[in-house]
């Protein structure tokens, strides 16, 4: 224990000397949250729509204004030749085009189904799926209004949607917990990933080897200062999310602290393992990007739903700690989930931290000879 404390003191002194790194570790995370929490969302509004109205009747104009009034579409341009709509889509000046053919009003007044064409730029499949849904439901509604009463069938079966936990479906509420996990992860990994490999590269590893302390206390001593820094910066970002983005806190603070600590311990251990496994800092950095930063974005369920992934990849996500942390975090803050409901997640986080810390110690012990 004395040894661990000594290493801890030495590490703290070193951190204090490199003010820029300390500054980055504590304040940049909060700045990120501010920037990204504000900038990122999946709410699709202001879809630029090009309109080609070949009919020019009150009915066709009713369709156009139904699109504009729905609040999702902005009228980008009225075009008259088919090539124009194509060009606007190519240039990204329009995301969707609405084409109303000649004779639309006549058809619709006589109670037949009048065709209307909608072209959607599908290059961003995610946006396009949502736009598709909007366009379909707008056309259904306006179609029902325009059709003569005789042709209307009473609705047989209808859906009443209810949304729990986030009734306005604000994507911020779901993205901010993901950002918290991502930011905490990169801060923690970045702070330890270079710690040991640096000593190797600078030739000071000899000193580490000769130091009269056991490997576990060495590791613990190295980690504690960064754990405290990471915890402080995480507290800062959680606080900022609540005051700035209206993230609720429906659960228990102690549960949150527990989940956060376990997650940070795992992340710091990952950094240490990377550091012990690398020969140069360049390698360590690339490894950190590959095995912690990218999976935290891609495989944690932060942005992309895990249930949509192919089964083989779903197995890989079991080894991504952010996956468990996200379920726990979203549960605690958004749903007020009790500790007992997220025990499996907390268990997985502890297991991950213990296993990775153990591996890192083993590797370092081997290096020390």
């Amino acid at each position: 224990m004395r040894g661990a404390l000594a290493v801890c003191r030495k590490e703290l002194r070193q951190i204090a000397r490199d003010q820029r790194t300390l500054f980055i570790l504590v304040f940049v995370p909060a700045f990120f949250l501010l920037l990204f929490g504000y900038a990122l969302n999946f709410d699709i509004r202001h879809v630029r729509l090009a309109v080609e109205d070949r009919d020019g009747t009150p009915e066709s104009r009713a369709v156009v204004s139904a699109f504009v009034d729905a609040g999702y579409f902005d009228l980008a341009a009225a075009v008259y030749a088919p090539r124009d709509a194509e060009r606007l889509l190519d240039l990204n000046e329009a995301r969707a085009a609405l084409v109303i053919p000649e004779g639309f009003a006549r058809e619709v007044r006589s109670g037949r189904r009048a065709p209307v064409q909608v072209i959607i730029g599908g290059d961003n499949a995610n946006t396009a799926t949502t736009v598709l849904g909007y366009a379909g439901s707008i056309l259904r509604t306006v179609g029902a209004q325009l059709a003569p009463a005789a042709a209307q069938a009473p609705p047989g079966l209808s859906v009443e949607p209810r949304i729990w936990y986030n009734p306005e479906l604000r994507s911020t509420l779901f993205l901010v917990p993901g950002l918290i996990a991502y930011i905490a992860m990169i801060t923690a990994v970045a702070s330890t990933a270079l710690s040991i490999v640096r000593e190797k590269e600078m030739g000071t590893m000899e000193q580490v080897r000769m130091a009269p302390i056991g490997t576990p206390s060495f590791i613990i001593g190295k980690t504690i200062p960064y754990f405290l820094i990471a915890l402080a910066s995480s507290a800062l970002i959680v606080g900022a999310s609540m005051t700035l983005f209206g993230l609720p806190m429906r659960g228990n603070w102690l549960t949150l602290l527990l989940a956060l600590s376990l997650f940070l311990a795992g992340a710091l251990a990952t950094g240490l393992l990377i550091s012990t496994a690398s020969e140069t800092q360049q390698v360590a950095f690339q490894l950190a990007l590959l095995i912690s930063f990218l999976p935290t974005i891609m495989l944690s369920g932060f942005i992309f739903p895990i249930s949509s992934m192919p089964p083989a990849l779903q197995v890989v996500t079991w080894f991504v700690p952010a996956r468990y942390f996200l379920v726990a975090l979203r549960g605690i803050v958004l749903k007020g989930t009790e500790l007992s409901h997220i025990l499996p997640q907390l268990g997985a986080l502890s297991l991950y931290a213990a296993a990775v810390l153990g591996l890192a110690s083993l590797r370092l012990a081997k290096d020390r000879g």
């Binding site: 490199d18 699709i44 499949a125 799926t129 029902a144 009443e160 949304i163 949509s308 992934m309």
Partner: protein, 371 residues
Amino acid sequence: MQRLRFLVRKEFQELRRNPRLFGLVVVAPILQLTLLGYAATTDVRDVPMVVADGDRSAASRELIARFDASPYFSVVRTVTTTREIEPFLESGSAWLALSIPVDYGGHVGSRRPAVVQVIADGSDANATTVALGYASSLVAGYAEELAASAADMPAGGGIDARIRIWFNPQLESRHFMIPGVLALVLLVVTANLAAMAIVREKELGTLEQLNVTPLRRWELITGKLLPYGVIGMVDVVLVVGVAVFWFEIPLRGSFVLLLAMSLLYVLCTLALGLFISTVSDTQQQAMMTATFFFLTPMVYLSGFIFPIENMPAVIQPLTYLIPLRYFLVIVRGIFLKGIGLELLWPQAAALAAWGIVVLSLAVARSRKRAA
């Protein structure tokens, strides 16, 4: 010229002596492609749902079967009352719940209007929006079928929506994400490696030695950067090959144009690497600076995942400072839309301008330091 060749050879030798790094620059792009090709799907499939069937009739079972048979939903459990749904949504083991009221079958049978409730977990707003859309169109389709079979009525009036999707008819998010990987890989590999290679010499004190050799400044810089440029271009060919032949992403535009644009972009990322190296004294600082000030903002604000047009108007101007933004438009344009320079020249020009500005900044900084 000869001196330059020696320097480049030295740099390659150092890379070869470090086989793990060499492996990483080949493995990294492949791994990222796999991750993004398979994982990065915003398509919503197999949404776990729980059903509260208060009716337990043939009609209600028919509706549940519709949901279960759809590729979008998978029914994990059927319960009896709405109250039993809550624990499933709370623990996240189901995202969606379908609640069928008592006497649903009676209503449907006697053709009185019936209402079913769909309860969604809004904590994943994105997937929920999509899943709700699927659920309501599934029910709407089923309702039409019921009405038609009951009344032998032809489809009524209204609008026949003919929706067509361009560029990516199956709406596979893979087609959107994978061309983006090219941009991300190049940024990760070239900028970071180049920055750390230079700072490493600084840290080990060997940069001083290089400074006193008869090498000229530009030779030194070119010699350090060139190998990483070569690696970057190898990665381009690798990524494009895997994208086209493995993931079957259509390359509708010109491959030569794609290569030329990638080269322009690699010059930009190398300039960025050089710039990072001039503002860092240790590799740790270089790593922090690269990750926090360049990599992360670029990933999130370039339109790589999150559409720029969704961002608030205050943030949008900021995205013009990000070279990834221009390159993404170029790559996606060439891959998916098959368009050429006649439409892409503004992006190419912006990229070139960005490269020149950053390179001059980096050179100016390093000159001041050397003086």
